[in-house]
Subunit: 227 residues, 2 copies
């Protein structure tokens, strides 16, 4: 290993360490992450952190990308065949919910209100769409296998807007099914956020998982997926 490579590796390790400590702070203090506090925890001056992240927003962006990839990884693992498409759809949703319950602050970071003044850079949109594409892939396989109650186009304007998306990213799906996928994904995010942000308090307290599955089954049904 060359000296340059060693240098790069040390730098990467330091970067990772900063992110780890930042994540820990995120878990206790929430989204108003203090760069100085992170630096203190690492035993270094706050200015030193700026060698690794140009700004606090840059650090947040790194955490956001990691979070997107973490949920998506969890979803990928859960959606592995063999299983019926509906089972995989539900497994995906459950995996996302469980990851969110385990990492509430990271969930808030990516699906909560955007940090004020923070503009998500291009690097985030790839990881951000992974779960959506996974749901689309599952539905697409069901379409291919004839396991879906095929639903007619409705002729709405948004349907034609979705046609290019369908073609590029979900080639197995007609535009309306892409709409259903997006709607299902939004429903997933909405259900998880609502549970996480306390909107469910004092109504469903015990069987939250069951209620969640009920909702996600509904989303699948709306998409024509029943098996």
């Amino acid at each position: 290993m060359s000296a340059a490579n060693l240098r790069a590796r040390v730098r990467a390790e330091m970067t990772e360490e900063i992110k780890t400590v930042a994540r820990r702070h995120l878990a206790t203090d929430g989204a108003n992450l203090s760069l100085r506090a992170v630096a203190r925890d690492l035993g270094m001056a706050s200015s030193a952190v700026y060698r690794y992240f140009a700004s606090r927003d840059d650090l947040l962006t790194a955490l956001i990308i990691d979070a997107y990839n973490e949920v998506a990884d969890a979803a990928d693992r859960a959606a592995a065949p063999p299983a019926t498409p509906l089972d995989r759809w539900l497994a995906t949703c459950h995996a996302v919910r469980e990851w969110a319950l385990e990492n509430p602050h990271q969930w808030a970071l990516i699906y909560g209100s955007p940090v004020p003044g923070y503009q998500a850079p291009q690097d985030t949109i790839g990881p951000a769409t992974r779960v959506l594409l996974l749901l689309g892939k599952t539905l697409g396989e069901a379409y291919r296998d004839g396991l879906v109650d095929v639903r007619e186009p409705i002729g709405a304007s948004f349907e034609s807007e979705l046609a290019p998306i369908a073609e590029s990213f979900m080639p197995d799906l007609p535009p309306r099914a892409v709409a259903d996928t997006i709607a299902g994904f939004f429903q997933l995010c909405g259900a998880v956020s609502a549970e996480l942000f306390g909107q469910l308090n004092k109504s469903v307290d015990e069987d939250r998982r069951g209620f969640f599955e009920y909702q996600m089954t509904g989303a699948a049904t709306t998409a024509g997926l029943t098996a």
Copy 2:
């Protein structure tokens, strides 16, 4: 008007003025509201604001309660009869969406990620449930008028958890319909948040209203409401 009342009125006006300026700051700077900046705009010392709000969180709470009531008022106006229950359901959803589009930062305040360290006091839960109860009321009227495809209990555990809620707040609805109402409300919040927080960028750009209506119609259908 007695002197005491005058004093109270001046105080109420000042309180309102602070909230107005704070709302304006919210619209430009987002949720990290600066008390000092608000005070500067009002031409007074930052410490003076503390005569009216014990802390920044208290000010935020006041804004949150106002925001809940504002959406709910808009929803109430939109849901006024005469119209079919489905029309009123959709009108409620559209009103909520439109209010959110006009007041994105206030929406983020109430339905985005909770402000770190901020614990919502009891005063907020009343206003917070108004839109949900309105949806329940609309569905309940449809039930009473026999306009709903009555759906059988599914015997899930969350269903019995919802029974007391049904009895106290939505007496016209069976527990499963309460679940559908809550699910619909979550779907509403999810769809609005997703659109507002930029998850829809570069997929549906023109006919967002149409896509939103498609989703909310789906939620109504799931609840058995088709007319």
